[in-house]
Symmetry: C2
Subunit: 225 residues, 2 copies
């Protein structure tokens, strides 16, 4: 009851962090019932901050919250996953086009630096968690050139994934995604908005295809290399 790792800004933030981590790690699975008293005892806090955290997750769409009947983790049908990726492709493509309109030279330098870090770690064979984080930083270094509302809109989509299938754990996939990034960076350098949009759109849909093949390999048993 005294093992809060980092500086606990607030109990609610702490519970949110733990819940998201447990969702990503697969400790909590879709369809599970979330009982607030059980969560409170599990994390060593009172039910009040747990309730607030659940309300935030319900607003995100991560969980379903029905009155007096508790919260359940929402399940993802393949169709919903596809829709999420198509929404990402549209919004992040738009963000690239807007970024070209508002990007300063300094902003572009930051983006290039983020990309170099990712490529360096990819070739060095870093673990998938690190690569995934660096990839996120690269993407949002572009989106931050737009406006807070656009960044938040995209963040909400990124938050709604069950990242049990991390694409960056497959070496071949990582190299393909890195190649996509080069095309995006090129368009940004040329200040070509439509090209940047198209490249990002293709990149997100490419990630969707890779995710599908990854799921198929997992289903068949991953016999072929």
């Amino acid at each position: 009851m005294s093992e809060m790792d980092a500086l606990p800004k607030s109990r609610t933030a702490y519970v949110l962090e733990r819940l998201k981590a447990d969702l990503q790690q697969g400790v909590i699975n879709p369809g599970d019932q979330l009982r607030q008293t059980a969560i409170a005892k599990r994390y060593g806090v009172s039910p009040t901050p747990v309730r607030e955290a659940l309300r935030v997750l319900a607003a995100d769409g991560t969980i379903e919250y029905t009155s007096h009947r508790g919260a359940t983790v929402r399940d993802f049908t393949p169709q919903m996953a596809q829709d999420l990726y198509r929404m990402r492709a549209e919004l992040e493509g738009l963000a690239c086009e807007v970024a070209v309109e508002r990007m300063t030279d300094e902003d572009y330098a930051t983006i290039v630096a983020a990309n170099e870090r990712l490529v360096r770690e990819t070739t060095a064979g870093a673990d998938s968690a690190t690569l995934s984080l660096l990839n996120k930083e690269l993407h949002f270094s572009i989106y931050r050139c737009t406006s807070p509302v656009m960044v938040e809109g995209i963040q909400l989509l990124w938050a709604r994934f069950s990242p049990s299938v991390t694409l960056w754990s497959v070496g071949e996939f990582s190299r393909e995604l890195d190649r996509d990034h080069v095309a995006i960076l090129d368009a940004l350098q040329r200040r070509d908005g439509p090209a940047a949009r198209a490249a990002m759109h293709a990149h997100v849909m490419h990630a969707w295809e890779l995710r599908q093949t990854s799921a198929e390999l997992r289903a068949t048993g991953a016999s072929a290399s």
Copy 2:
């Protein structure tokens, strides 16, 4: 302390409803400090459900919530408003394309019925609140043909507006928006996905232009009819 209009599902939902209504009506303006004890006394509830409602609004992006410093209603710069409309155009355009893929004949009939209700009330000269609601129903009767995640993503964008400028209060604007709807419905009837996407995209950006001219008229004093 006993004047809860409709059936109060929960105190939190009631507070959320009241807060959103006050935000739409202009009782609460951007930049205002939201003190939870004041809100609690104002609505006749305890601070606890107020806190939960504020957490939901913070997740939406409607308010800014800093620890121990209270909540403030976020201000909208013109650039952020423009970005919001551009995001709407992309997402709702995509939704139309996906709707064509999954729409049944029954779904289409529902959409046509919603449109007929809106046109009827427009020609009858109904108040702007009614027209705005019917317009929302028409739009979401289309989006509901996609999937829950897409509906929620669009709903989040619709929720983030300071609708002090209701386009449906101007007769000429209403007729223009109705004409846009005809083009969208035509594309849906022909099951032409790309055309439906383009029509919706143009419609949303059209609404953005009307909103801008409306703001200009308001600023100059609205002398010309």
